[in-house]
Symmetry: C3
Subunit: 139 residues, 3 copies
Amino acid sequence: MKSHRQELWFEVPARRGFINITPKVEAALRESGIREGLCLVNAMHISASVFINDNERGLHADFEKWLEVLAPEKPHSQYRHNDTGEDNADAHLKRTIMGREVVVAVTAGQLDFGPWEQIFYGEFDGHRRKRVLIKIIGE
Amino acid sequence: MKSHRQELWFEVPARRGFINITPKVEAALRESGIREGLCLVNAMHISASVFINDNERGLHADFEKWLEVLAPEKPHSQYRHNDTGEDNADAHLKRTIMGREVVVAVTAGQLDFGPWEQIFYGEFDGHRRKRVLIKIIGE
Amino acid sequence: MKSHRQELWFEVPARRGFINITPKVEAALRESGIREGLCLVNAMHISASVFINDNERGLHADFEKWLEVLAPEKPHSQYRHNDTGEDNADAHLKRTIMGREVVVAVTAGQLDFGPWEQIFYGEFDGHRRKRVLIKIIGE
């Protein structure tokens, strides 16, 4: 069994944003030399997300609006987590909806994707450097 | 390390529906000959879901009603994704709540399940042929 | 390839509660002797969750309040699942939001975590003994 580990670093210049990281995960897979196995991609921060969906700008605007309805940022005082001096409780909730991680099959040296699947980093508390972990195991 | 890959195809004759795919995943596991490992089952479409829950008709009705509250289908015009000519933005959001994938332990050649765990395909934009991917790795 | 399986048992003395299970997962990993691989941790019950987030009491209070807004327990009669004699339909929905499982990278014999990641068992229908499964594969 082979394994490969890689970190990706991001600094989103806004509180929230989505970044298509599919090319970077594909590059890590090529570097790993693994042909058959599983590829885990996870946010290393608990106010960020890794998820698979469509690379379509309108949908991303819908996600932004929808998450603000389900877990509004303001008023910051509505959340007990923010009593600690933080203002990012909503980011923890939004990331819960969007998910921490994806596991993708590796087949014949490729991410084994359906036609529109793309991997995104979802930032919900940006303006600072944060990391994603890629771990691939297989042969 | 062994690996096994299989696709399942579905055509749900309605916009939304749930299908218990546990027997098909068990059949794939038997075919793989893998006794110890991990089994990934994921929707290959971004408007569908694979999730684990109870095989109980009332609960499925509750899921349907609940998802329509959290991410209503209509009016289609409320979503920017639908400006592209699609009408399925709500399906992308519903699938986000329900999840893209499950990872199940394989122990002694069986799906290592608790007493009521069953795997479902969740369709949120049906009336067409769509796929699920099964990837099993182990020994 | 090596594999290791372990169950954790809990009896939460309330309907809902969160338990930090990180030390128990770390102990299972040490026992496994696995240095590189993947660690799956999942609820074996469909009214409970395993998730990764912050070990902060205020945030846990926020999760409790938020989940009651998104999937209220009462009135029990609002859910068709409860027509079967159950009263825990809301627990199935809450667990769907929080997730069934996490997959964590294992690197150099450690859970490969970002700075604040901790693994929690989320109970949404307690007052009885319930289980979590740990399955680790790798080398």
